[in-house]
């Protein structure tokens, strides 16, 4: 029921009780993990590092969605659209104005955040299903805008060729180098997400999710905090979109589409809504599933020769849909909840409760 502490560990102060990382060995383990990750490109294959880059970018976007949907309870199908905004902003700033990547990334984050804020405005009036429809509008308006507006700058449906980022004289043009960038940003976004979730802001978010009327009568300004959630989610999407655009080196209106938004929402459900671990677990599991589909595709195709060309493409949505359905039925609280149960069981072993 309550939080289980390992045997012999006592919360001797409130600060210690509230700490995220509690033991010296946990700090050591964390630093070892981070060090191992930073040195990973030295011995991992290029394919693995590229996969990790992709996964990290998705994790960042899902973390943003988690703040909005998982904590604040505002379901959004617009996350990929805000990635498009972030991608275009930093691509244009680097390509046309020769901006350094860091300020361009910052501008992408803030720019996407402001656009997210605009599409969050309906949240004052509409909730649930109707808000999903309102955020879906972003998914249609923003790609349409990039295709049809300012043709000489945005280059219409063909989109932009994006330069790889350059920082401190290093050009991040290989997956290995790019990994330094994505990993650093992931650490930053994770720390910020954790800070939000444990602070006054996060409690205001959750109180809106759990009982918005009570929250309002307890002094939470609903509109203000919903907009802040939309802003934060879009900032995360902007960072992810910028990273993805400069990694792919190409960007058009279809780079991030509606199915990406749906996929990210699915990842969040699989990982666990409103948990710090959720985005990590969900994104990794779904990315692995997609990889498995790529590997299994030819095998499946050999059994069904008549559908050979479509097998790989069909297998991805099939596996994703199956995973999502199984999670909704058997573990709607996601893998993060499973992990909590496992930890509790481990601490109580050999007893069952």
């Amino acid at each position: 029921m309550s939080v289980l502490r390992p045997a012999g560990e006592f919360d001797a102060s409130y600060a210690y009780d509230m700490a995220t990382i509690r033991r010296p060995w946990q700090w050591a383990a964390l630093f070892l993990l981070i060090a191992a990750l930073y040195t990973l490109p030295l011995y991992a294959s290029q394919g693995l590092v590229a996969l990790l880059n992709r996964t990290i970018i998705v994790i960042i976007a899902v973390q943003g969605l988690n703040l909005l949907t998982g904590y604040t309870g505002q379901i959004s199908l617009g996350q990929a659209a805000f990635m498009t905004v972030g991608g275009y902003i930093s691509a244009l700033l680097v390509n046309l104005l020769n901006w350094n990547y860091l300020p361009a990334l910052l501008a992408a984050a803030v720019g996407a955040g402001v656009v997210g804020l605009l599409f969050g405005l309906p949240s004052l009036r509409v909730k649930g299903f109707y808000l999903v429809m309102a955020t879906l509008a972003a998914q249609f308006i923003i790609p349409w805008f990039t295709r049809n507006a300012f043709h000489d700058v945005l280059n219409g449906a063909q989109g932009l060729n994006v330069r790889p980022p350059e920082l401190f004289g290093i050009v991040f043009n290989t997956p290995q180098r790019y990994f330094m960038l994505t990993l650093t940003l992931l650490i930053l976004t994770t720390v910020v997400a954790q800070n939000v979730s444990r602070s006054r802001l996060g409690r205001a978010f959750v109180s809106i999710r759990d009982h918005d009327l009570a929250a309002e009568l307890l002094g939470v300004n609903l509109f203000k905090y919903k907009l802040q959630a939309f802003f934060l989610a879009a900032v995360y999407a902007g960072i992810a979109g910028s990273l993805a655009a400069h990694q792919l080196r190409h960007l058009n209106s279809e780079t991030f589409g509606l199915n990406d938004s749906v996929l990210m929402l699915g990842m969040l459900v699989v990982g666990g809504l409103g948990t710090g671990m959720g985005p990590f677990l969900g994104a990794v599991v779904i990315e692995l599933l997609i990889e498995a589909a790529t590997v299994l595709g030819p095998v499946v195709a050999s059994y069904f020769p008549s559908t050979a060309t479509g097998a790989v493409q069909a297998l991805r949505p099939l596996l994703f849909g199956l995973a999502l359905m199984l999670f909704l039925i058997f573990e709607p609280r996601g893998l993060a909840h499973r992990w909590q149960l496992f930890k509790a069981a481990w601490r109580l072993r050999p007893f069952s409760h």
């Binding site: 800070n195 409690r203 109180s207 309002e216 307890l218």
Partner: protein
């Protein structure tokens, strides 16, 4: 002896939904340091009155003043900072949070960390959380909730949830506490516990209390004054003794044949 100041005054308040008159020209006053009970049969407008006071409903006509201030122009989210806290008839806790976090969430109005402060958290945000944790722990002690401090409230039994909700209202440090049926669905022992907590709150925390309750024995025991509503109208107001004797109340609320309480 001078009378204590009027904390809350409801002046000629009416509330209509379409053709349903939920409240009709209700006037009443609550003075600093009183426990006032609102009673009345189901659908009498008790909760509607409370909802008007907490600005969840806007009265169709009339005026509500708190500490001399007209509440008509105050948005719902500014009611709590003025010093009005409430609990709900059907518990409205943040079910996904622990008892501790429910109370911490109620400290919102007393905390100052801004948007960026929360993103960075270290330093001021952390210190502020610690300071408010002390206040919250005091309330947890006061309401004897130590054993459920870290329990997710969605999984708690009804009686405890009611207690957590009282704790959450106290965490706002209100001047006026509105309790909407704090004892529904409780057994005798839980009711007595809750009555004790309400009286303790009143005595030790300098809170004025306006409560709705159906348990007559309890109302008669703890209330200084009783207001009786029936079909949206105030039909009586007075000390518990006076209310017991009032023929209108006996007729409207208890049925004619009972005669006495």
């Amino acid at each position: 002896m001078t009378q204590p100041e009027v904390l809350l005054s409801v002046e000629n308040v009416s509330l209509t939904f379409g053709r349903v008159q939920a409240l009709a020209h209700v006037s009443c006053e609550v003075r600093q340091g009183e426990i006032v009970a609102i009673i009345g049969p189901n659908g009498a407008g008790k909760t509607s009155l409370l909802n008007c006071i907490s600005n969840f409903y806007r009265p169709t006509s009339g005026r509500i003043r708190f500490a001399g201030r007209d509440l008509a122009r105050v948005p719902a989210s500014r009611i709590a900072p003025l010093g009005i806290a409430r609990t709900f008839q059907n518990i409205a806790l943040y079910t996904g949070l622990s008892t501790l976090d429910n109370l911490m969430a109620a400290r919102h109005i007393h905390m100052k960390s801004g948007f960026l402060g929360c993103l960075l958290y270290w330093g001021f945000g952390h210190r502020e959380d610690l300071a408010h944790r002390l206040v919250v722990e005091e309330i947890i002690d006061f309401l004897e909730m130590q054993h459920i401090r870290k329990a997710v409230v969605g999984a708690l039994p009804h009686g405890l949830r009611k207690r957590v909700e009282l704790g959450r209202a106290l965490a706002l440090e209100p001047r006026l506490l509105l309790l909407d049926e704090p004892m529904t669905g409780m057994n005798q022992e839980e009711k007595e516990d809750m009555a004790r907590f309400i009286l303790d709150t009143y005595e030790r925390r300098d809170v004025t209390i306006l409560l709705i309750e159906h348990d007559m024995g309890l109302v008669m025991d703890i209330a200084d004054r009783v207001i009786v509503l029936d079909f949206g109208k105030k039909i009586a107001e007075g000390t518990p003794e006076e209310i017991k004797q009032n023929p209108d109340v006996i007729k409207a609320y208890l049925g004619q044949e009972h005669g006495t309480l």
